[in-house]
């Protein structure tokens, strides 16, 4: 580059112009690197929904419901995208009230090649927009784990639309939007740390999942009849794709190809590993055998728990967070679920609600400015308990409380509305026949064809 400029600019008395050109070139180079990583991350996060979550959930249901379950994830990729383009991005990221953004970016007006310095100064705002869209896609897809095998497709589409508008967009604005109530970096009243969506993605989806499970009631035959996963192999492929995609989710949340991204990448991977070991170990002691389902459930639990903490913690605390998440979520889905007998079909609450809450609180313990030195109010301040700021745990708890309250109340009201307009649960006959045939008129496996 320098040689090129030397050729272009012959005279030494043109020094200021040469410096300006050099500065612009350096800026372009950084922007190119950051943009390449962020577009890759956006694609990785989409990969988490389809085929990652689609296969993970699809393998866990019975054969007669595999397509309907895969479709829950797939349809989000289309439906949420359109909502996001019209109003979603604007309601989350334009300035508004502490609770919801405005309509400045409605229909993506003004969202293009220029960066938005409030969020990510080195990448086009268009990149930031498409990256954040992928989070809005996967969050409602996570809830489908609780209503699988019994929710009407029409009710699912309406529920998802209303849920994004009334629960996800407000929560994401509060945590990540400029001026949001919980945004530690952009003027929030309650400083909380949520690097990649512990509250926004996992607590909201997990708690909403529990409300769905309670509202819909148990599947026919649960828990007296055996309802086994129809293909553990599909679930393993899905879970491993989730693990890979999560690097885009967490390391991408650095919004740059930076050292912070590397740190988040490492924390993410370590937590997943420790959680897989934790869950399988607990299972081995508890029921005598370590299972593949235990392994993949554990890794997802660890990935969930590290999500809010990933850009704030060192590698050893990441291992601790992962291990605790594996043990805690194992206890939630085996002991607690069986105690209360709610039918959280694929354990969306037990893994995402419980793991997200644990991760959000532990972020308050382990967050340190040795990892994340982004200034808050113009200077670098102590972050979590390990930095000497014990009060952060309380702030994190307030964030958790708001997410739980919004998700629980919002989901209940939306389900009521959907129930009044469409009815939410399929008929007993349709449920018996399976949702693939009754809702979609097709089958996942036609072996004689």
């Amino acid at each position: 580059m320098q040689i090129e400029f030397a050729l272009l600019l012959p005279a030494a008395d043109d020094l200021p112009a040469r410096l300006n050109a050099l500065e612009a070139a350096a800026k372009n180079a950084q922007s190119a690197g950051d943009n390449a990583w962020m577009l890759t991350s956006a694609a990785l996060v989409l990969l988490m929904t389809g085929p990652g979550l689609a296969l993970f959930y699809g393998g866990l249901v019975r054969r007669k419901n595999v397509l309907s379950t895969v479709m829950h994830s797939f349809i989000m990729m289309a439906l949420i995208t359109v909502i996001w383009a019209f109003v979603g991005y604007s309601l989350v990221f334009s300035e508004g009230t502490p609770f919801i953004g405005g309509l400045k970016y409605a229909f993506l007006n003004g969202v293009g090649k220029e960066p938005n310095a409030d969020y990510a100064a080195t990448i086009p705002q268009g990149t930031f927009m498409i990256y954040q869209l992928m989070f809005a896609v996967i969050t409602p897809a996570l809830i489908s784990g609780a209503y699988a095998e019994r929710l009407k497709f029409s009710a699912m589409a309406l529920f998802t639309t209303l849920w994004s508008l009334a629960v996800y967009f407000p929560m994401a604005h509060m945590v990540w939007g400029k001026g949001g109530l919980l945004n530690a970096y952009l003027g929030g009243a309650i400083r909380t740390f949520d690097f990649a969506g512990g509250t926004v993605v996992h607590i909201t989806s997990g708690v909403s999942a529990l409300v769905c499970a309670l509202y819909l009631g148990r599947r026919k035959g649960y828990p007296s009849e055996p309802i086994k996963p129809h293909s553990m192999v599909l679930s393993v492929i899905g879970a491993c794709l989730l693990w890979v995609g999560w690097f885009g989710f967490n390391a991408g949340s650095a919004l740059a190809a930076s050292g912070l991204a590397t740190s988040a990448f490492i924390a993410t991977h370590f937590a997943a590993a420790a959680a897989a070991l934790g869950w399988m170990g607990a299972e081995w002691l508890h029921s005598g055998k370590p299972s593949m389902l235990g392994g993949i459930s554990g890794c997802v639990a660890g990935l969930v728990a590290i999500t809010p903490a990933s850009g704030f913690v060192k590698p050893m605390p990441a291992l601790v967070i992962g291990l605790l998440a594996g043990l805690f979520c194992f206890w939630m889905v085996t002991t607690v679920k069986n105690m209360f007998k709610y039918d959280d079909t694929l354990d969306a609450f037990g893994v995402h609600g419980a793991g997200g809450t644990l991760g959000a609180l532990l972020t308050g313990v382990f967050a340190t400015n040795l990892i994340n030195d982004s200034p808050i109010g113009g200077k670098v301040i102590p972050l979590g308990l390990v930095d000497g700021n014990a009060g952060q745990i309380l702030n994190q708890a307030m964030g958790v409380g708001i997410a739980i309250a919004l998700a629980a109340v919002g989901t209940f009201i939306i389900l009521k509305v959907c129930d009044l307009i469409l009815g939410v649960r399929v008929s007993a006959d349709d449920e018996e026949q399976g949702l693939d045939l009754s809702q979609h008129g097709e089958e996942g496996y036609v072996l004689e064809a």
Binding site: P223, P226, S287, S291, L293, S297, T335, N338, D347
Partner: protein, 112 residues
């Protein structure tokens, strides 16, 4: 003529087929079936939820032989299919009233 219905462990399929071939039996029908006798299945655990799987995969042989060959054939199947453990399966023998070869109308022992 006798019909032999043998229900055996799936992993013994090839050995039994080979044993029958060795004594010159070349007609048989094989199906994959599920069932249990005294074996009573096994336990599976998915996220802490226990299921008893009592119908286990088995393979069923159906073959019809001339009455004088019965003992020889049964002996061959028993020897090949036995592991000595519970779940090895059972053999049932029935009388057959008639056998007809569809291609040319052969009847009786000539048809089997």
């Amino acid at each position: 003529m006798k019909k032999i219905e043998a229900i055996i462990q799936p992993f013994k399929l090839e050995e039994v087929k080979e044993a029958l071939k060795n004594i010159g039996i070349d007609g048989m029908t094989i199906s994959e079936v599920r069932g249990h006798g005294r074996q009573k299945g096994h336990k599976e655990v998915y996220r802490g939820q226990e299921y008893n799987v009592d119908l286990l995969p088995k393979v069923r042989f159906d073959l019809v032989v001339a009455t004088e060959r019965l003992e020889e054939v049964v002996e061959a199947i028993v020897t090949a299919a036995r592991t000595g453990k519970i779940g090895d399966g059972k053999i049932f023998v029935y009388d057959v009233a008639e056998a007809i070869r569809i291609r040319n109308g052969d009847r009786g022992d000539a048809a089997v």
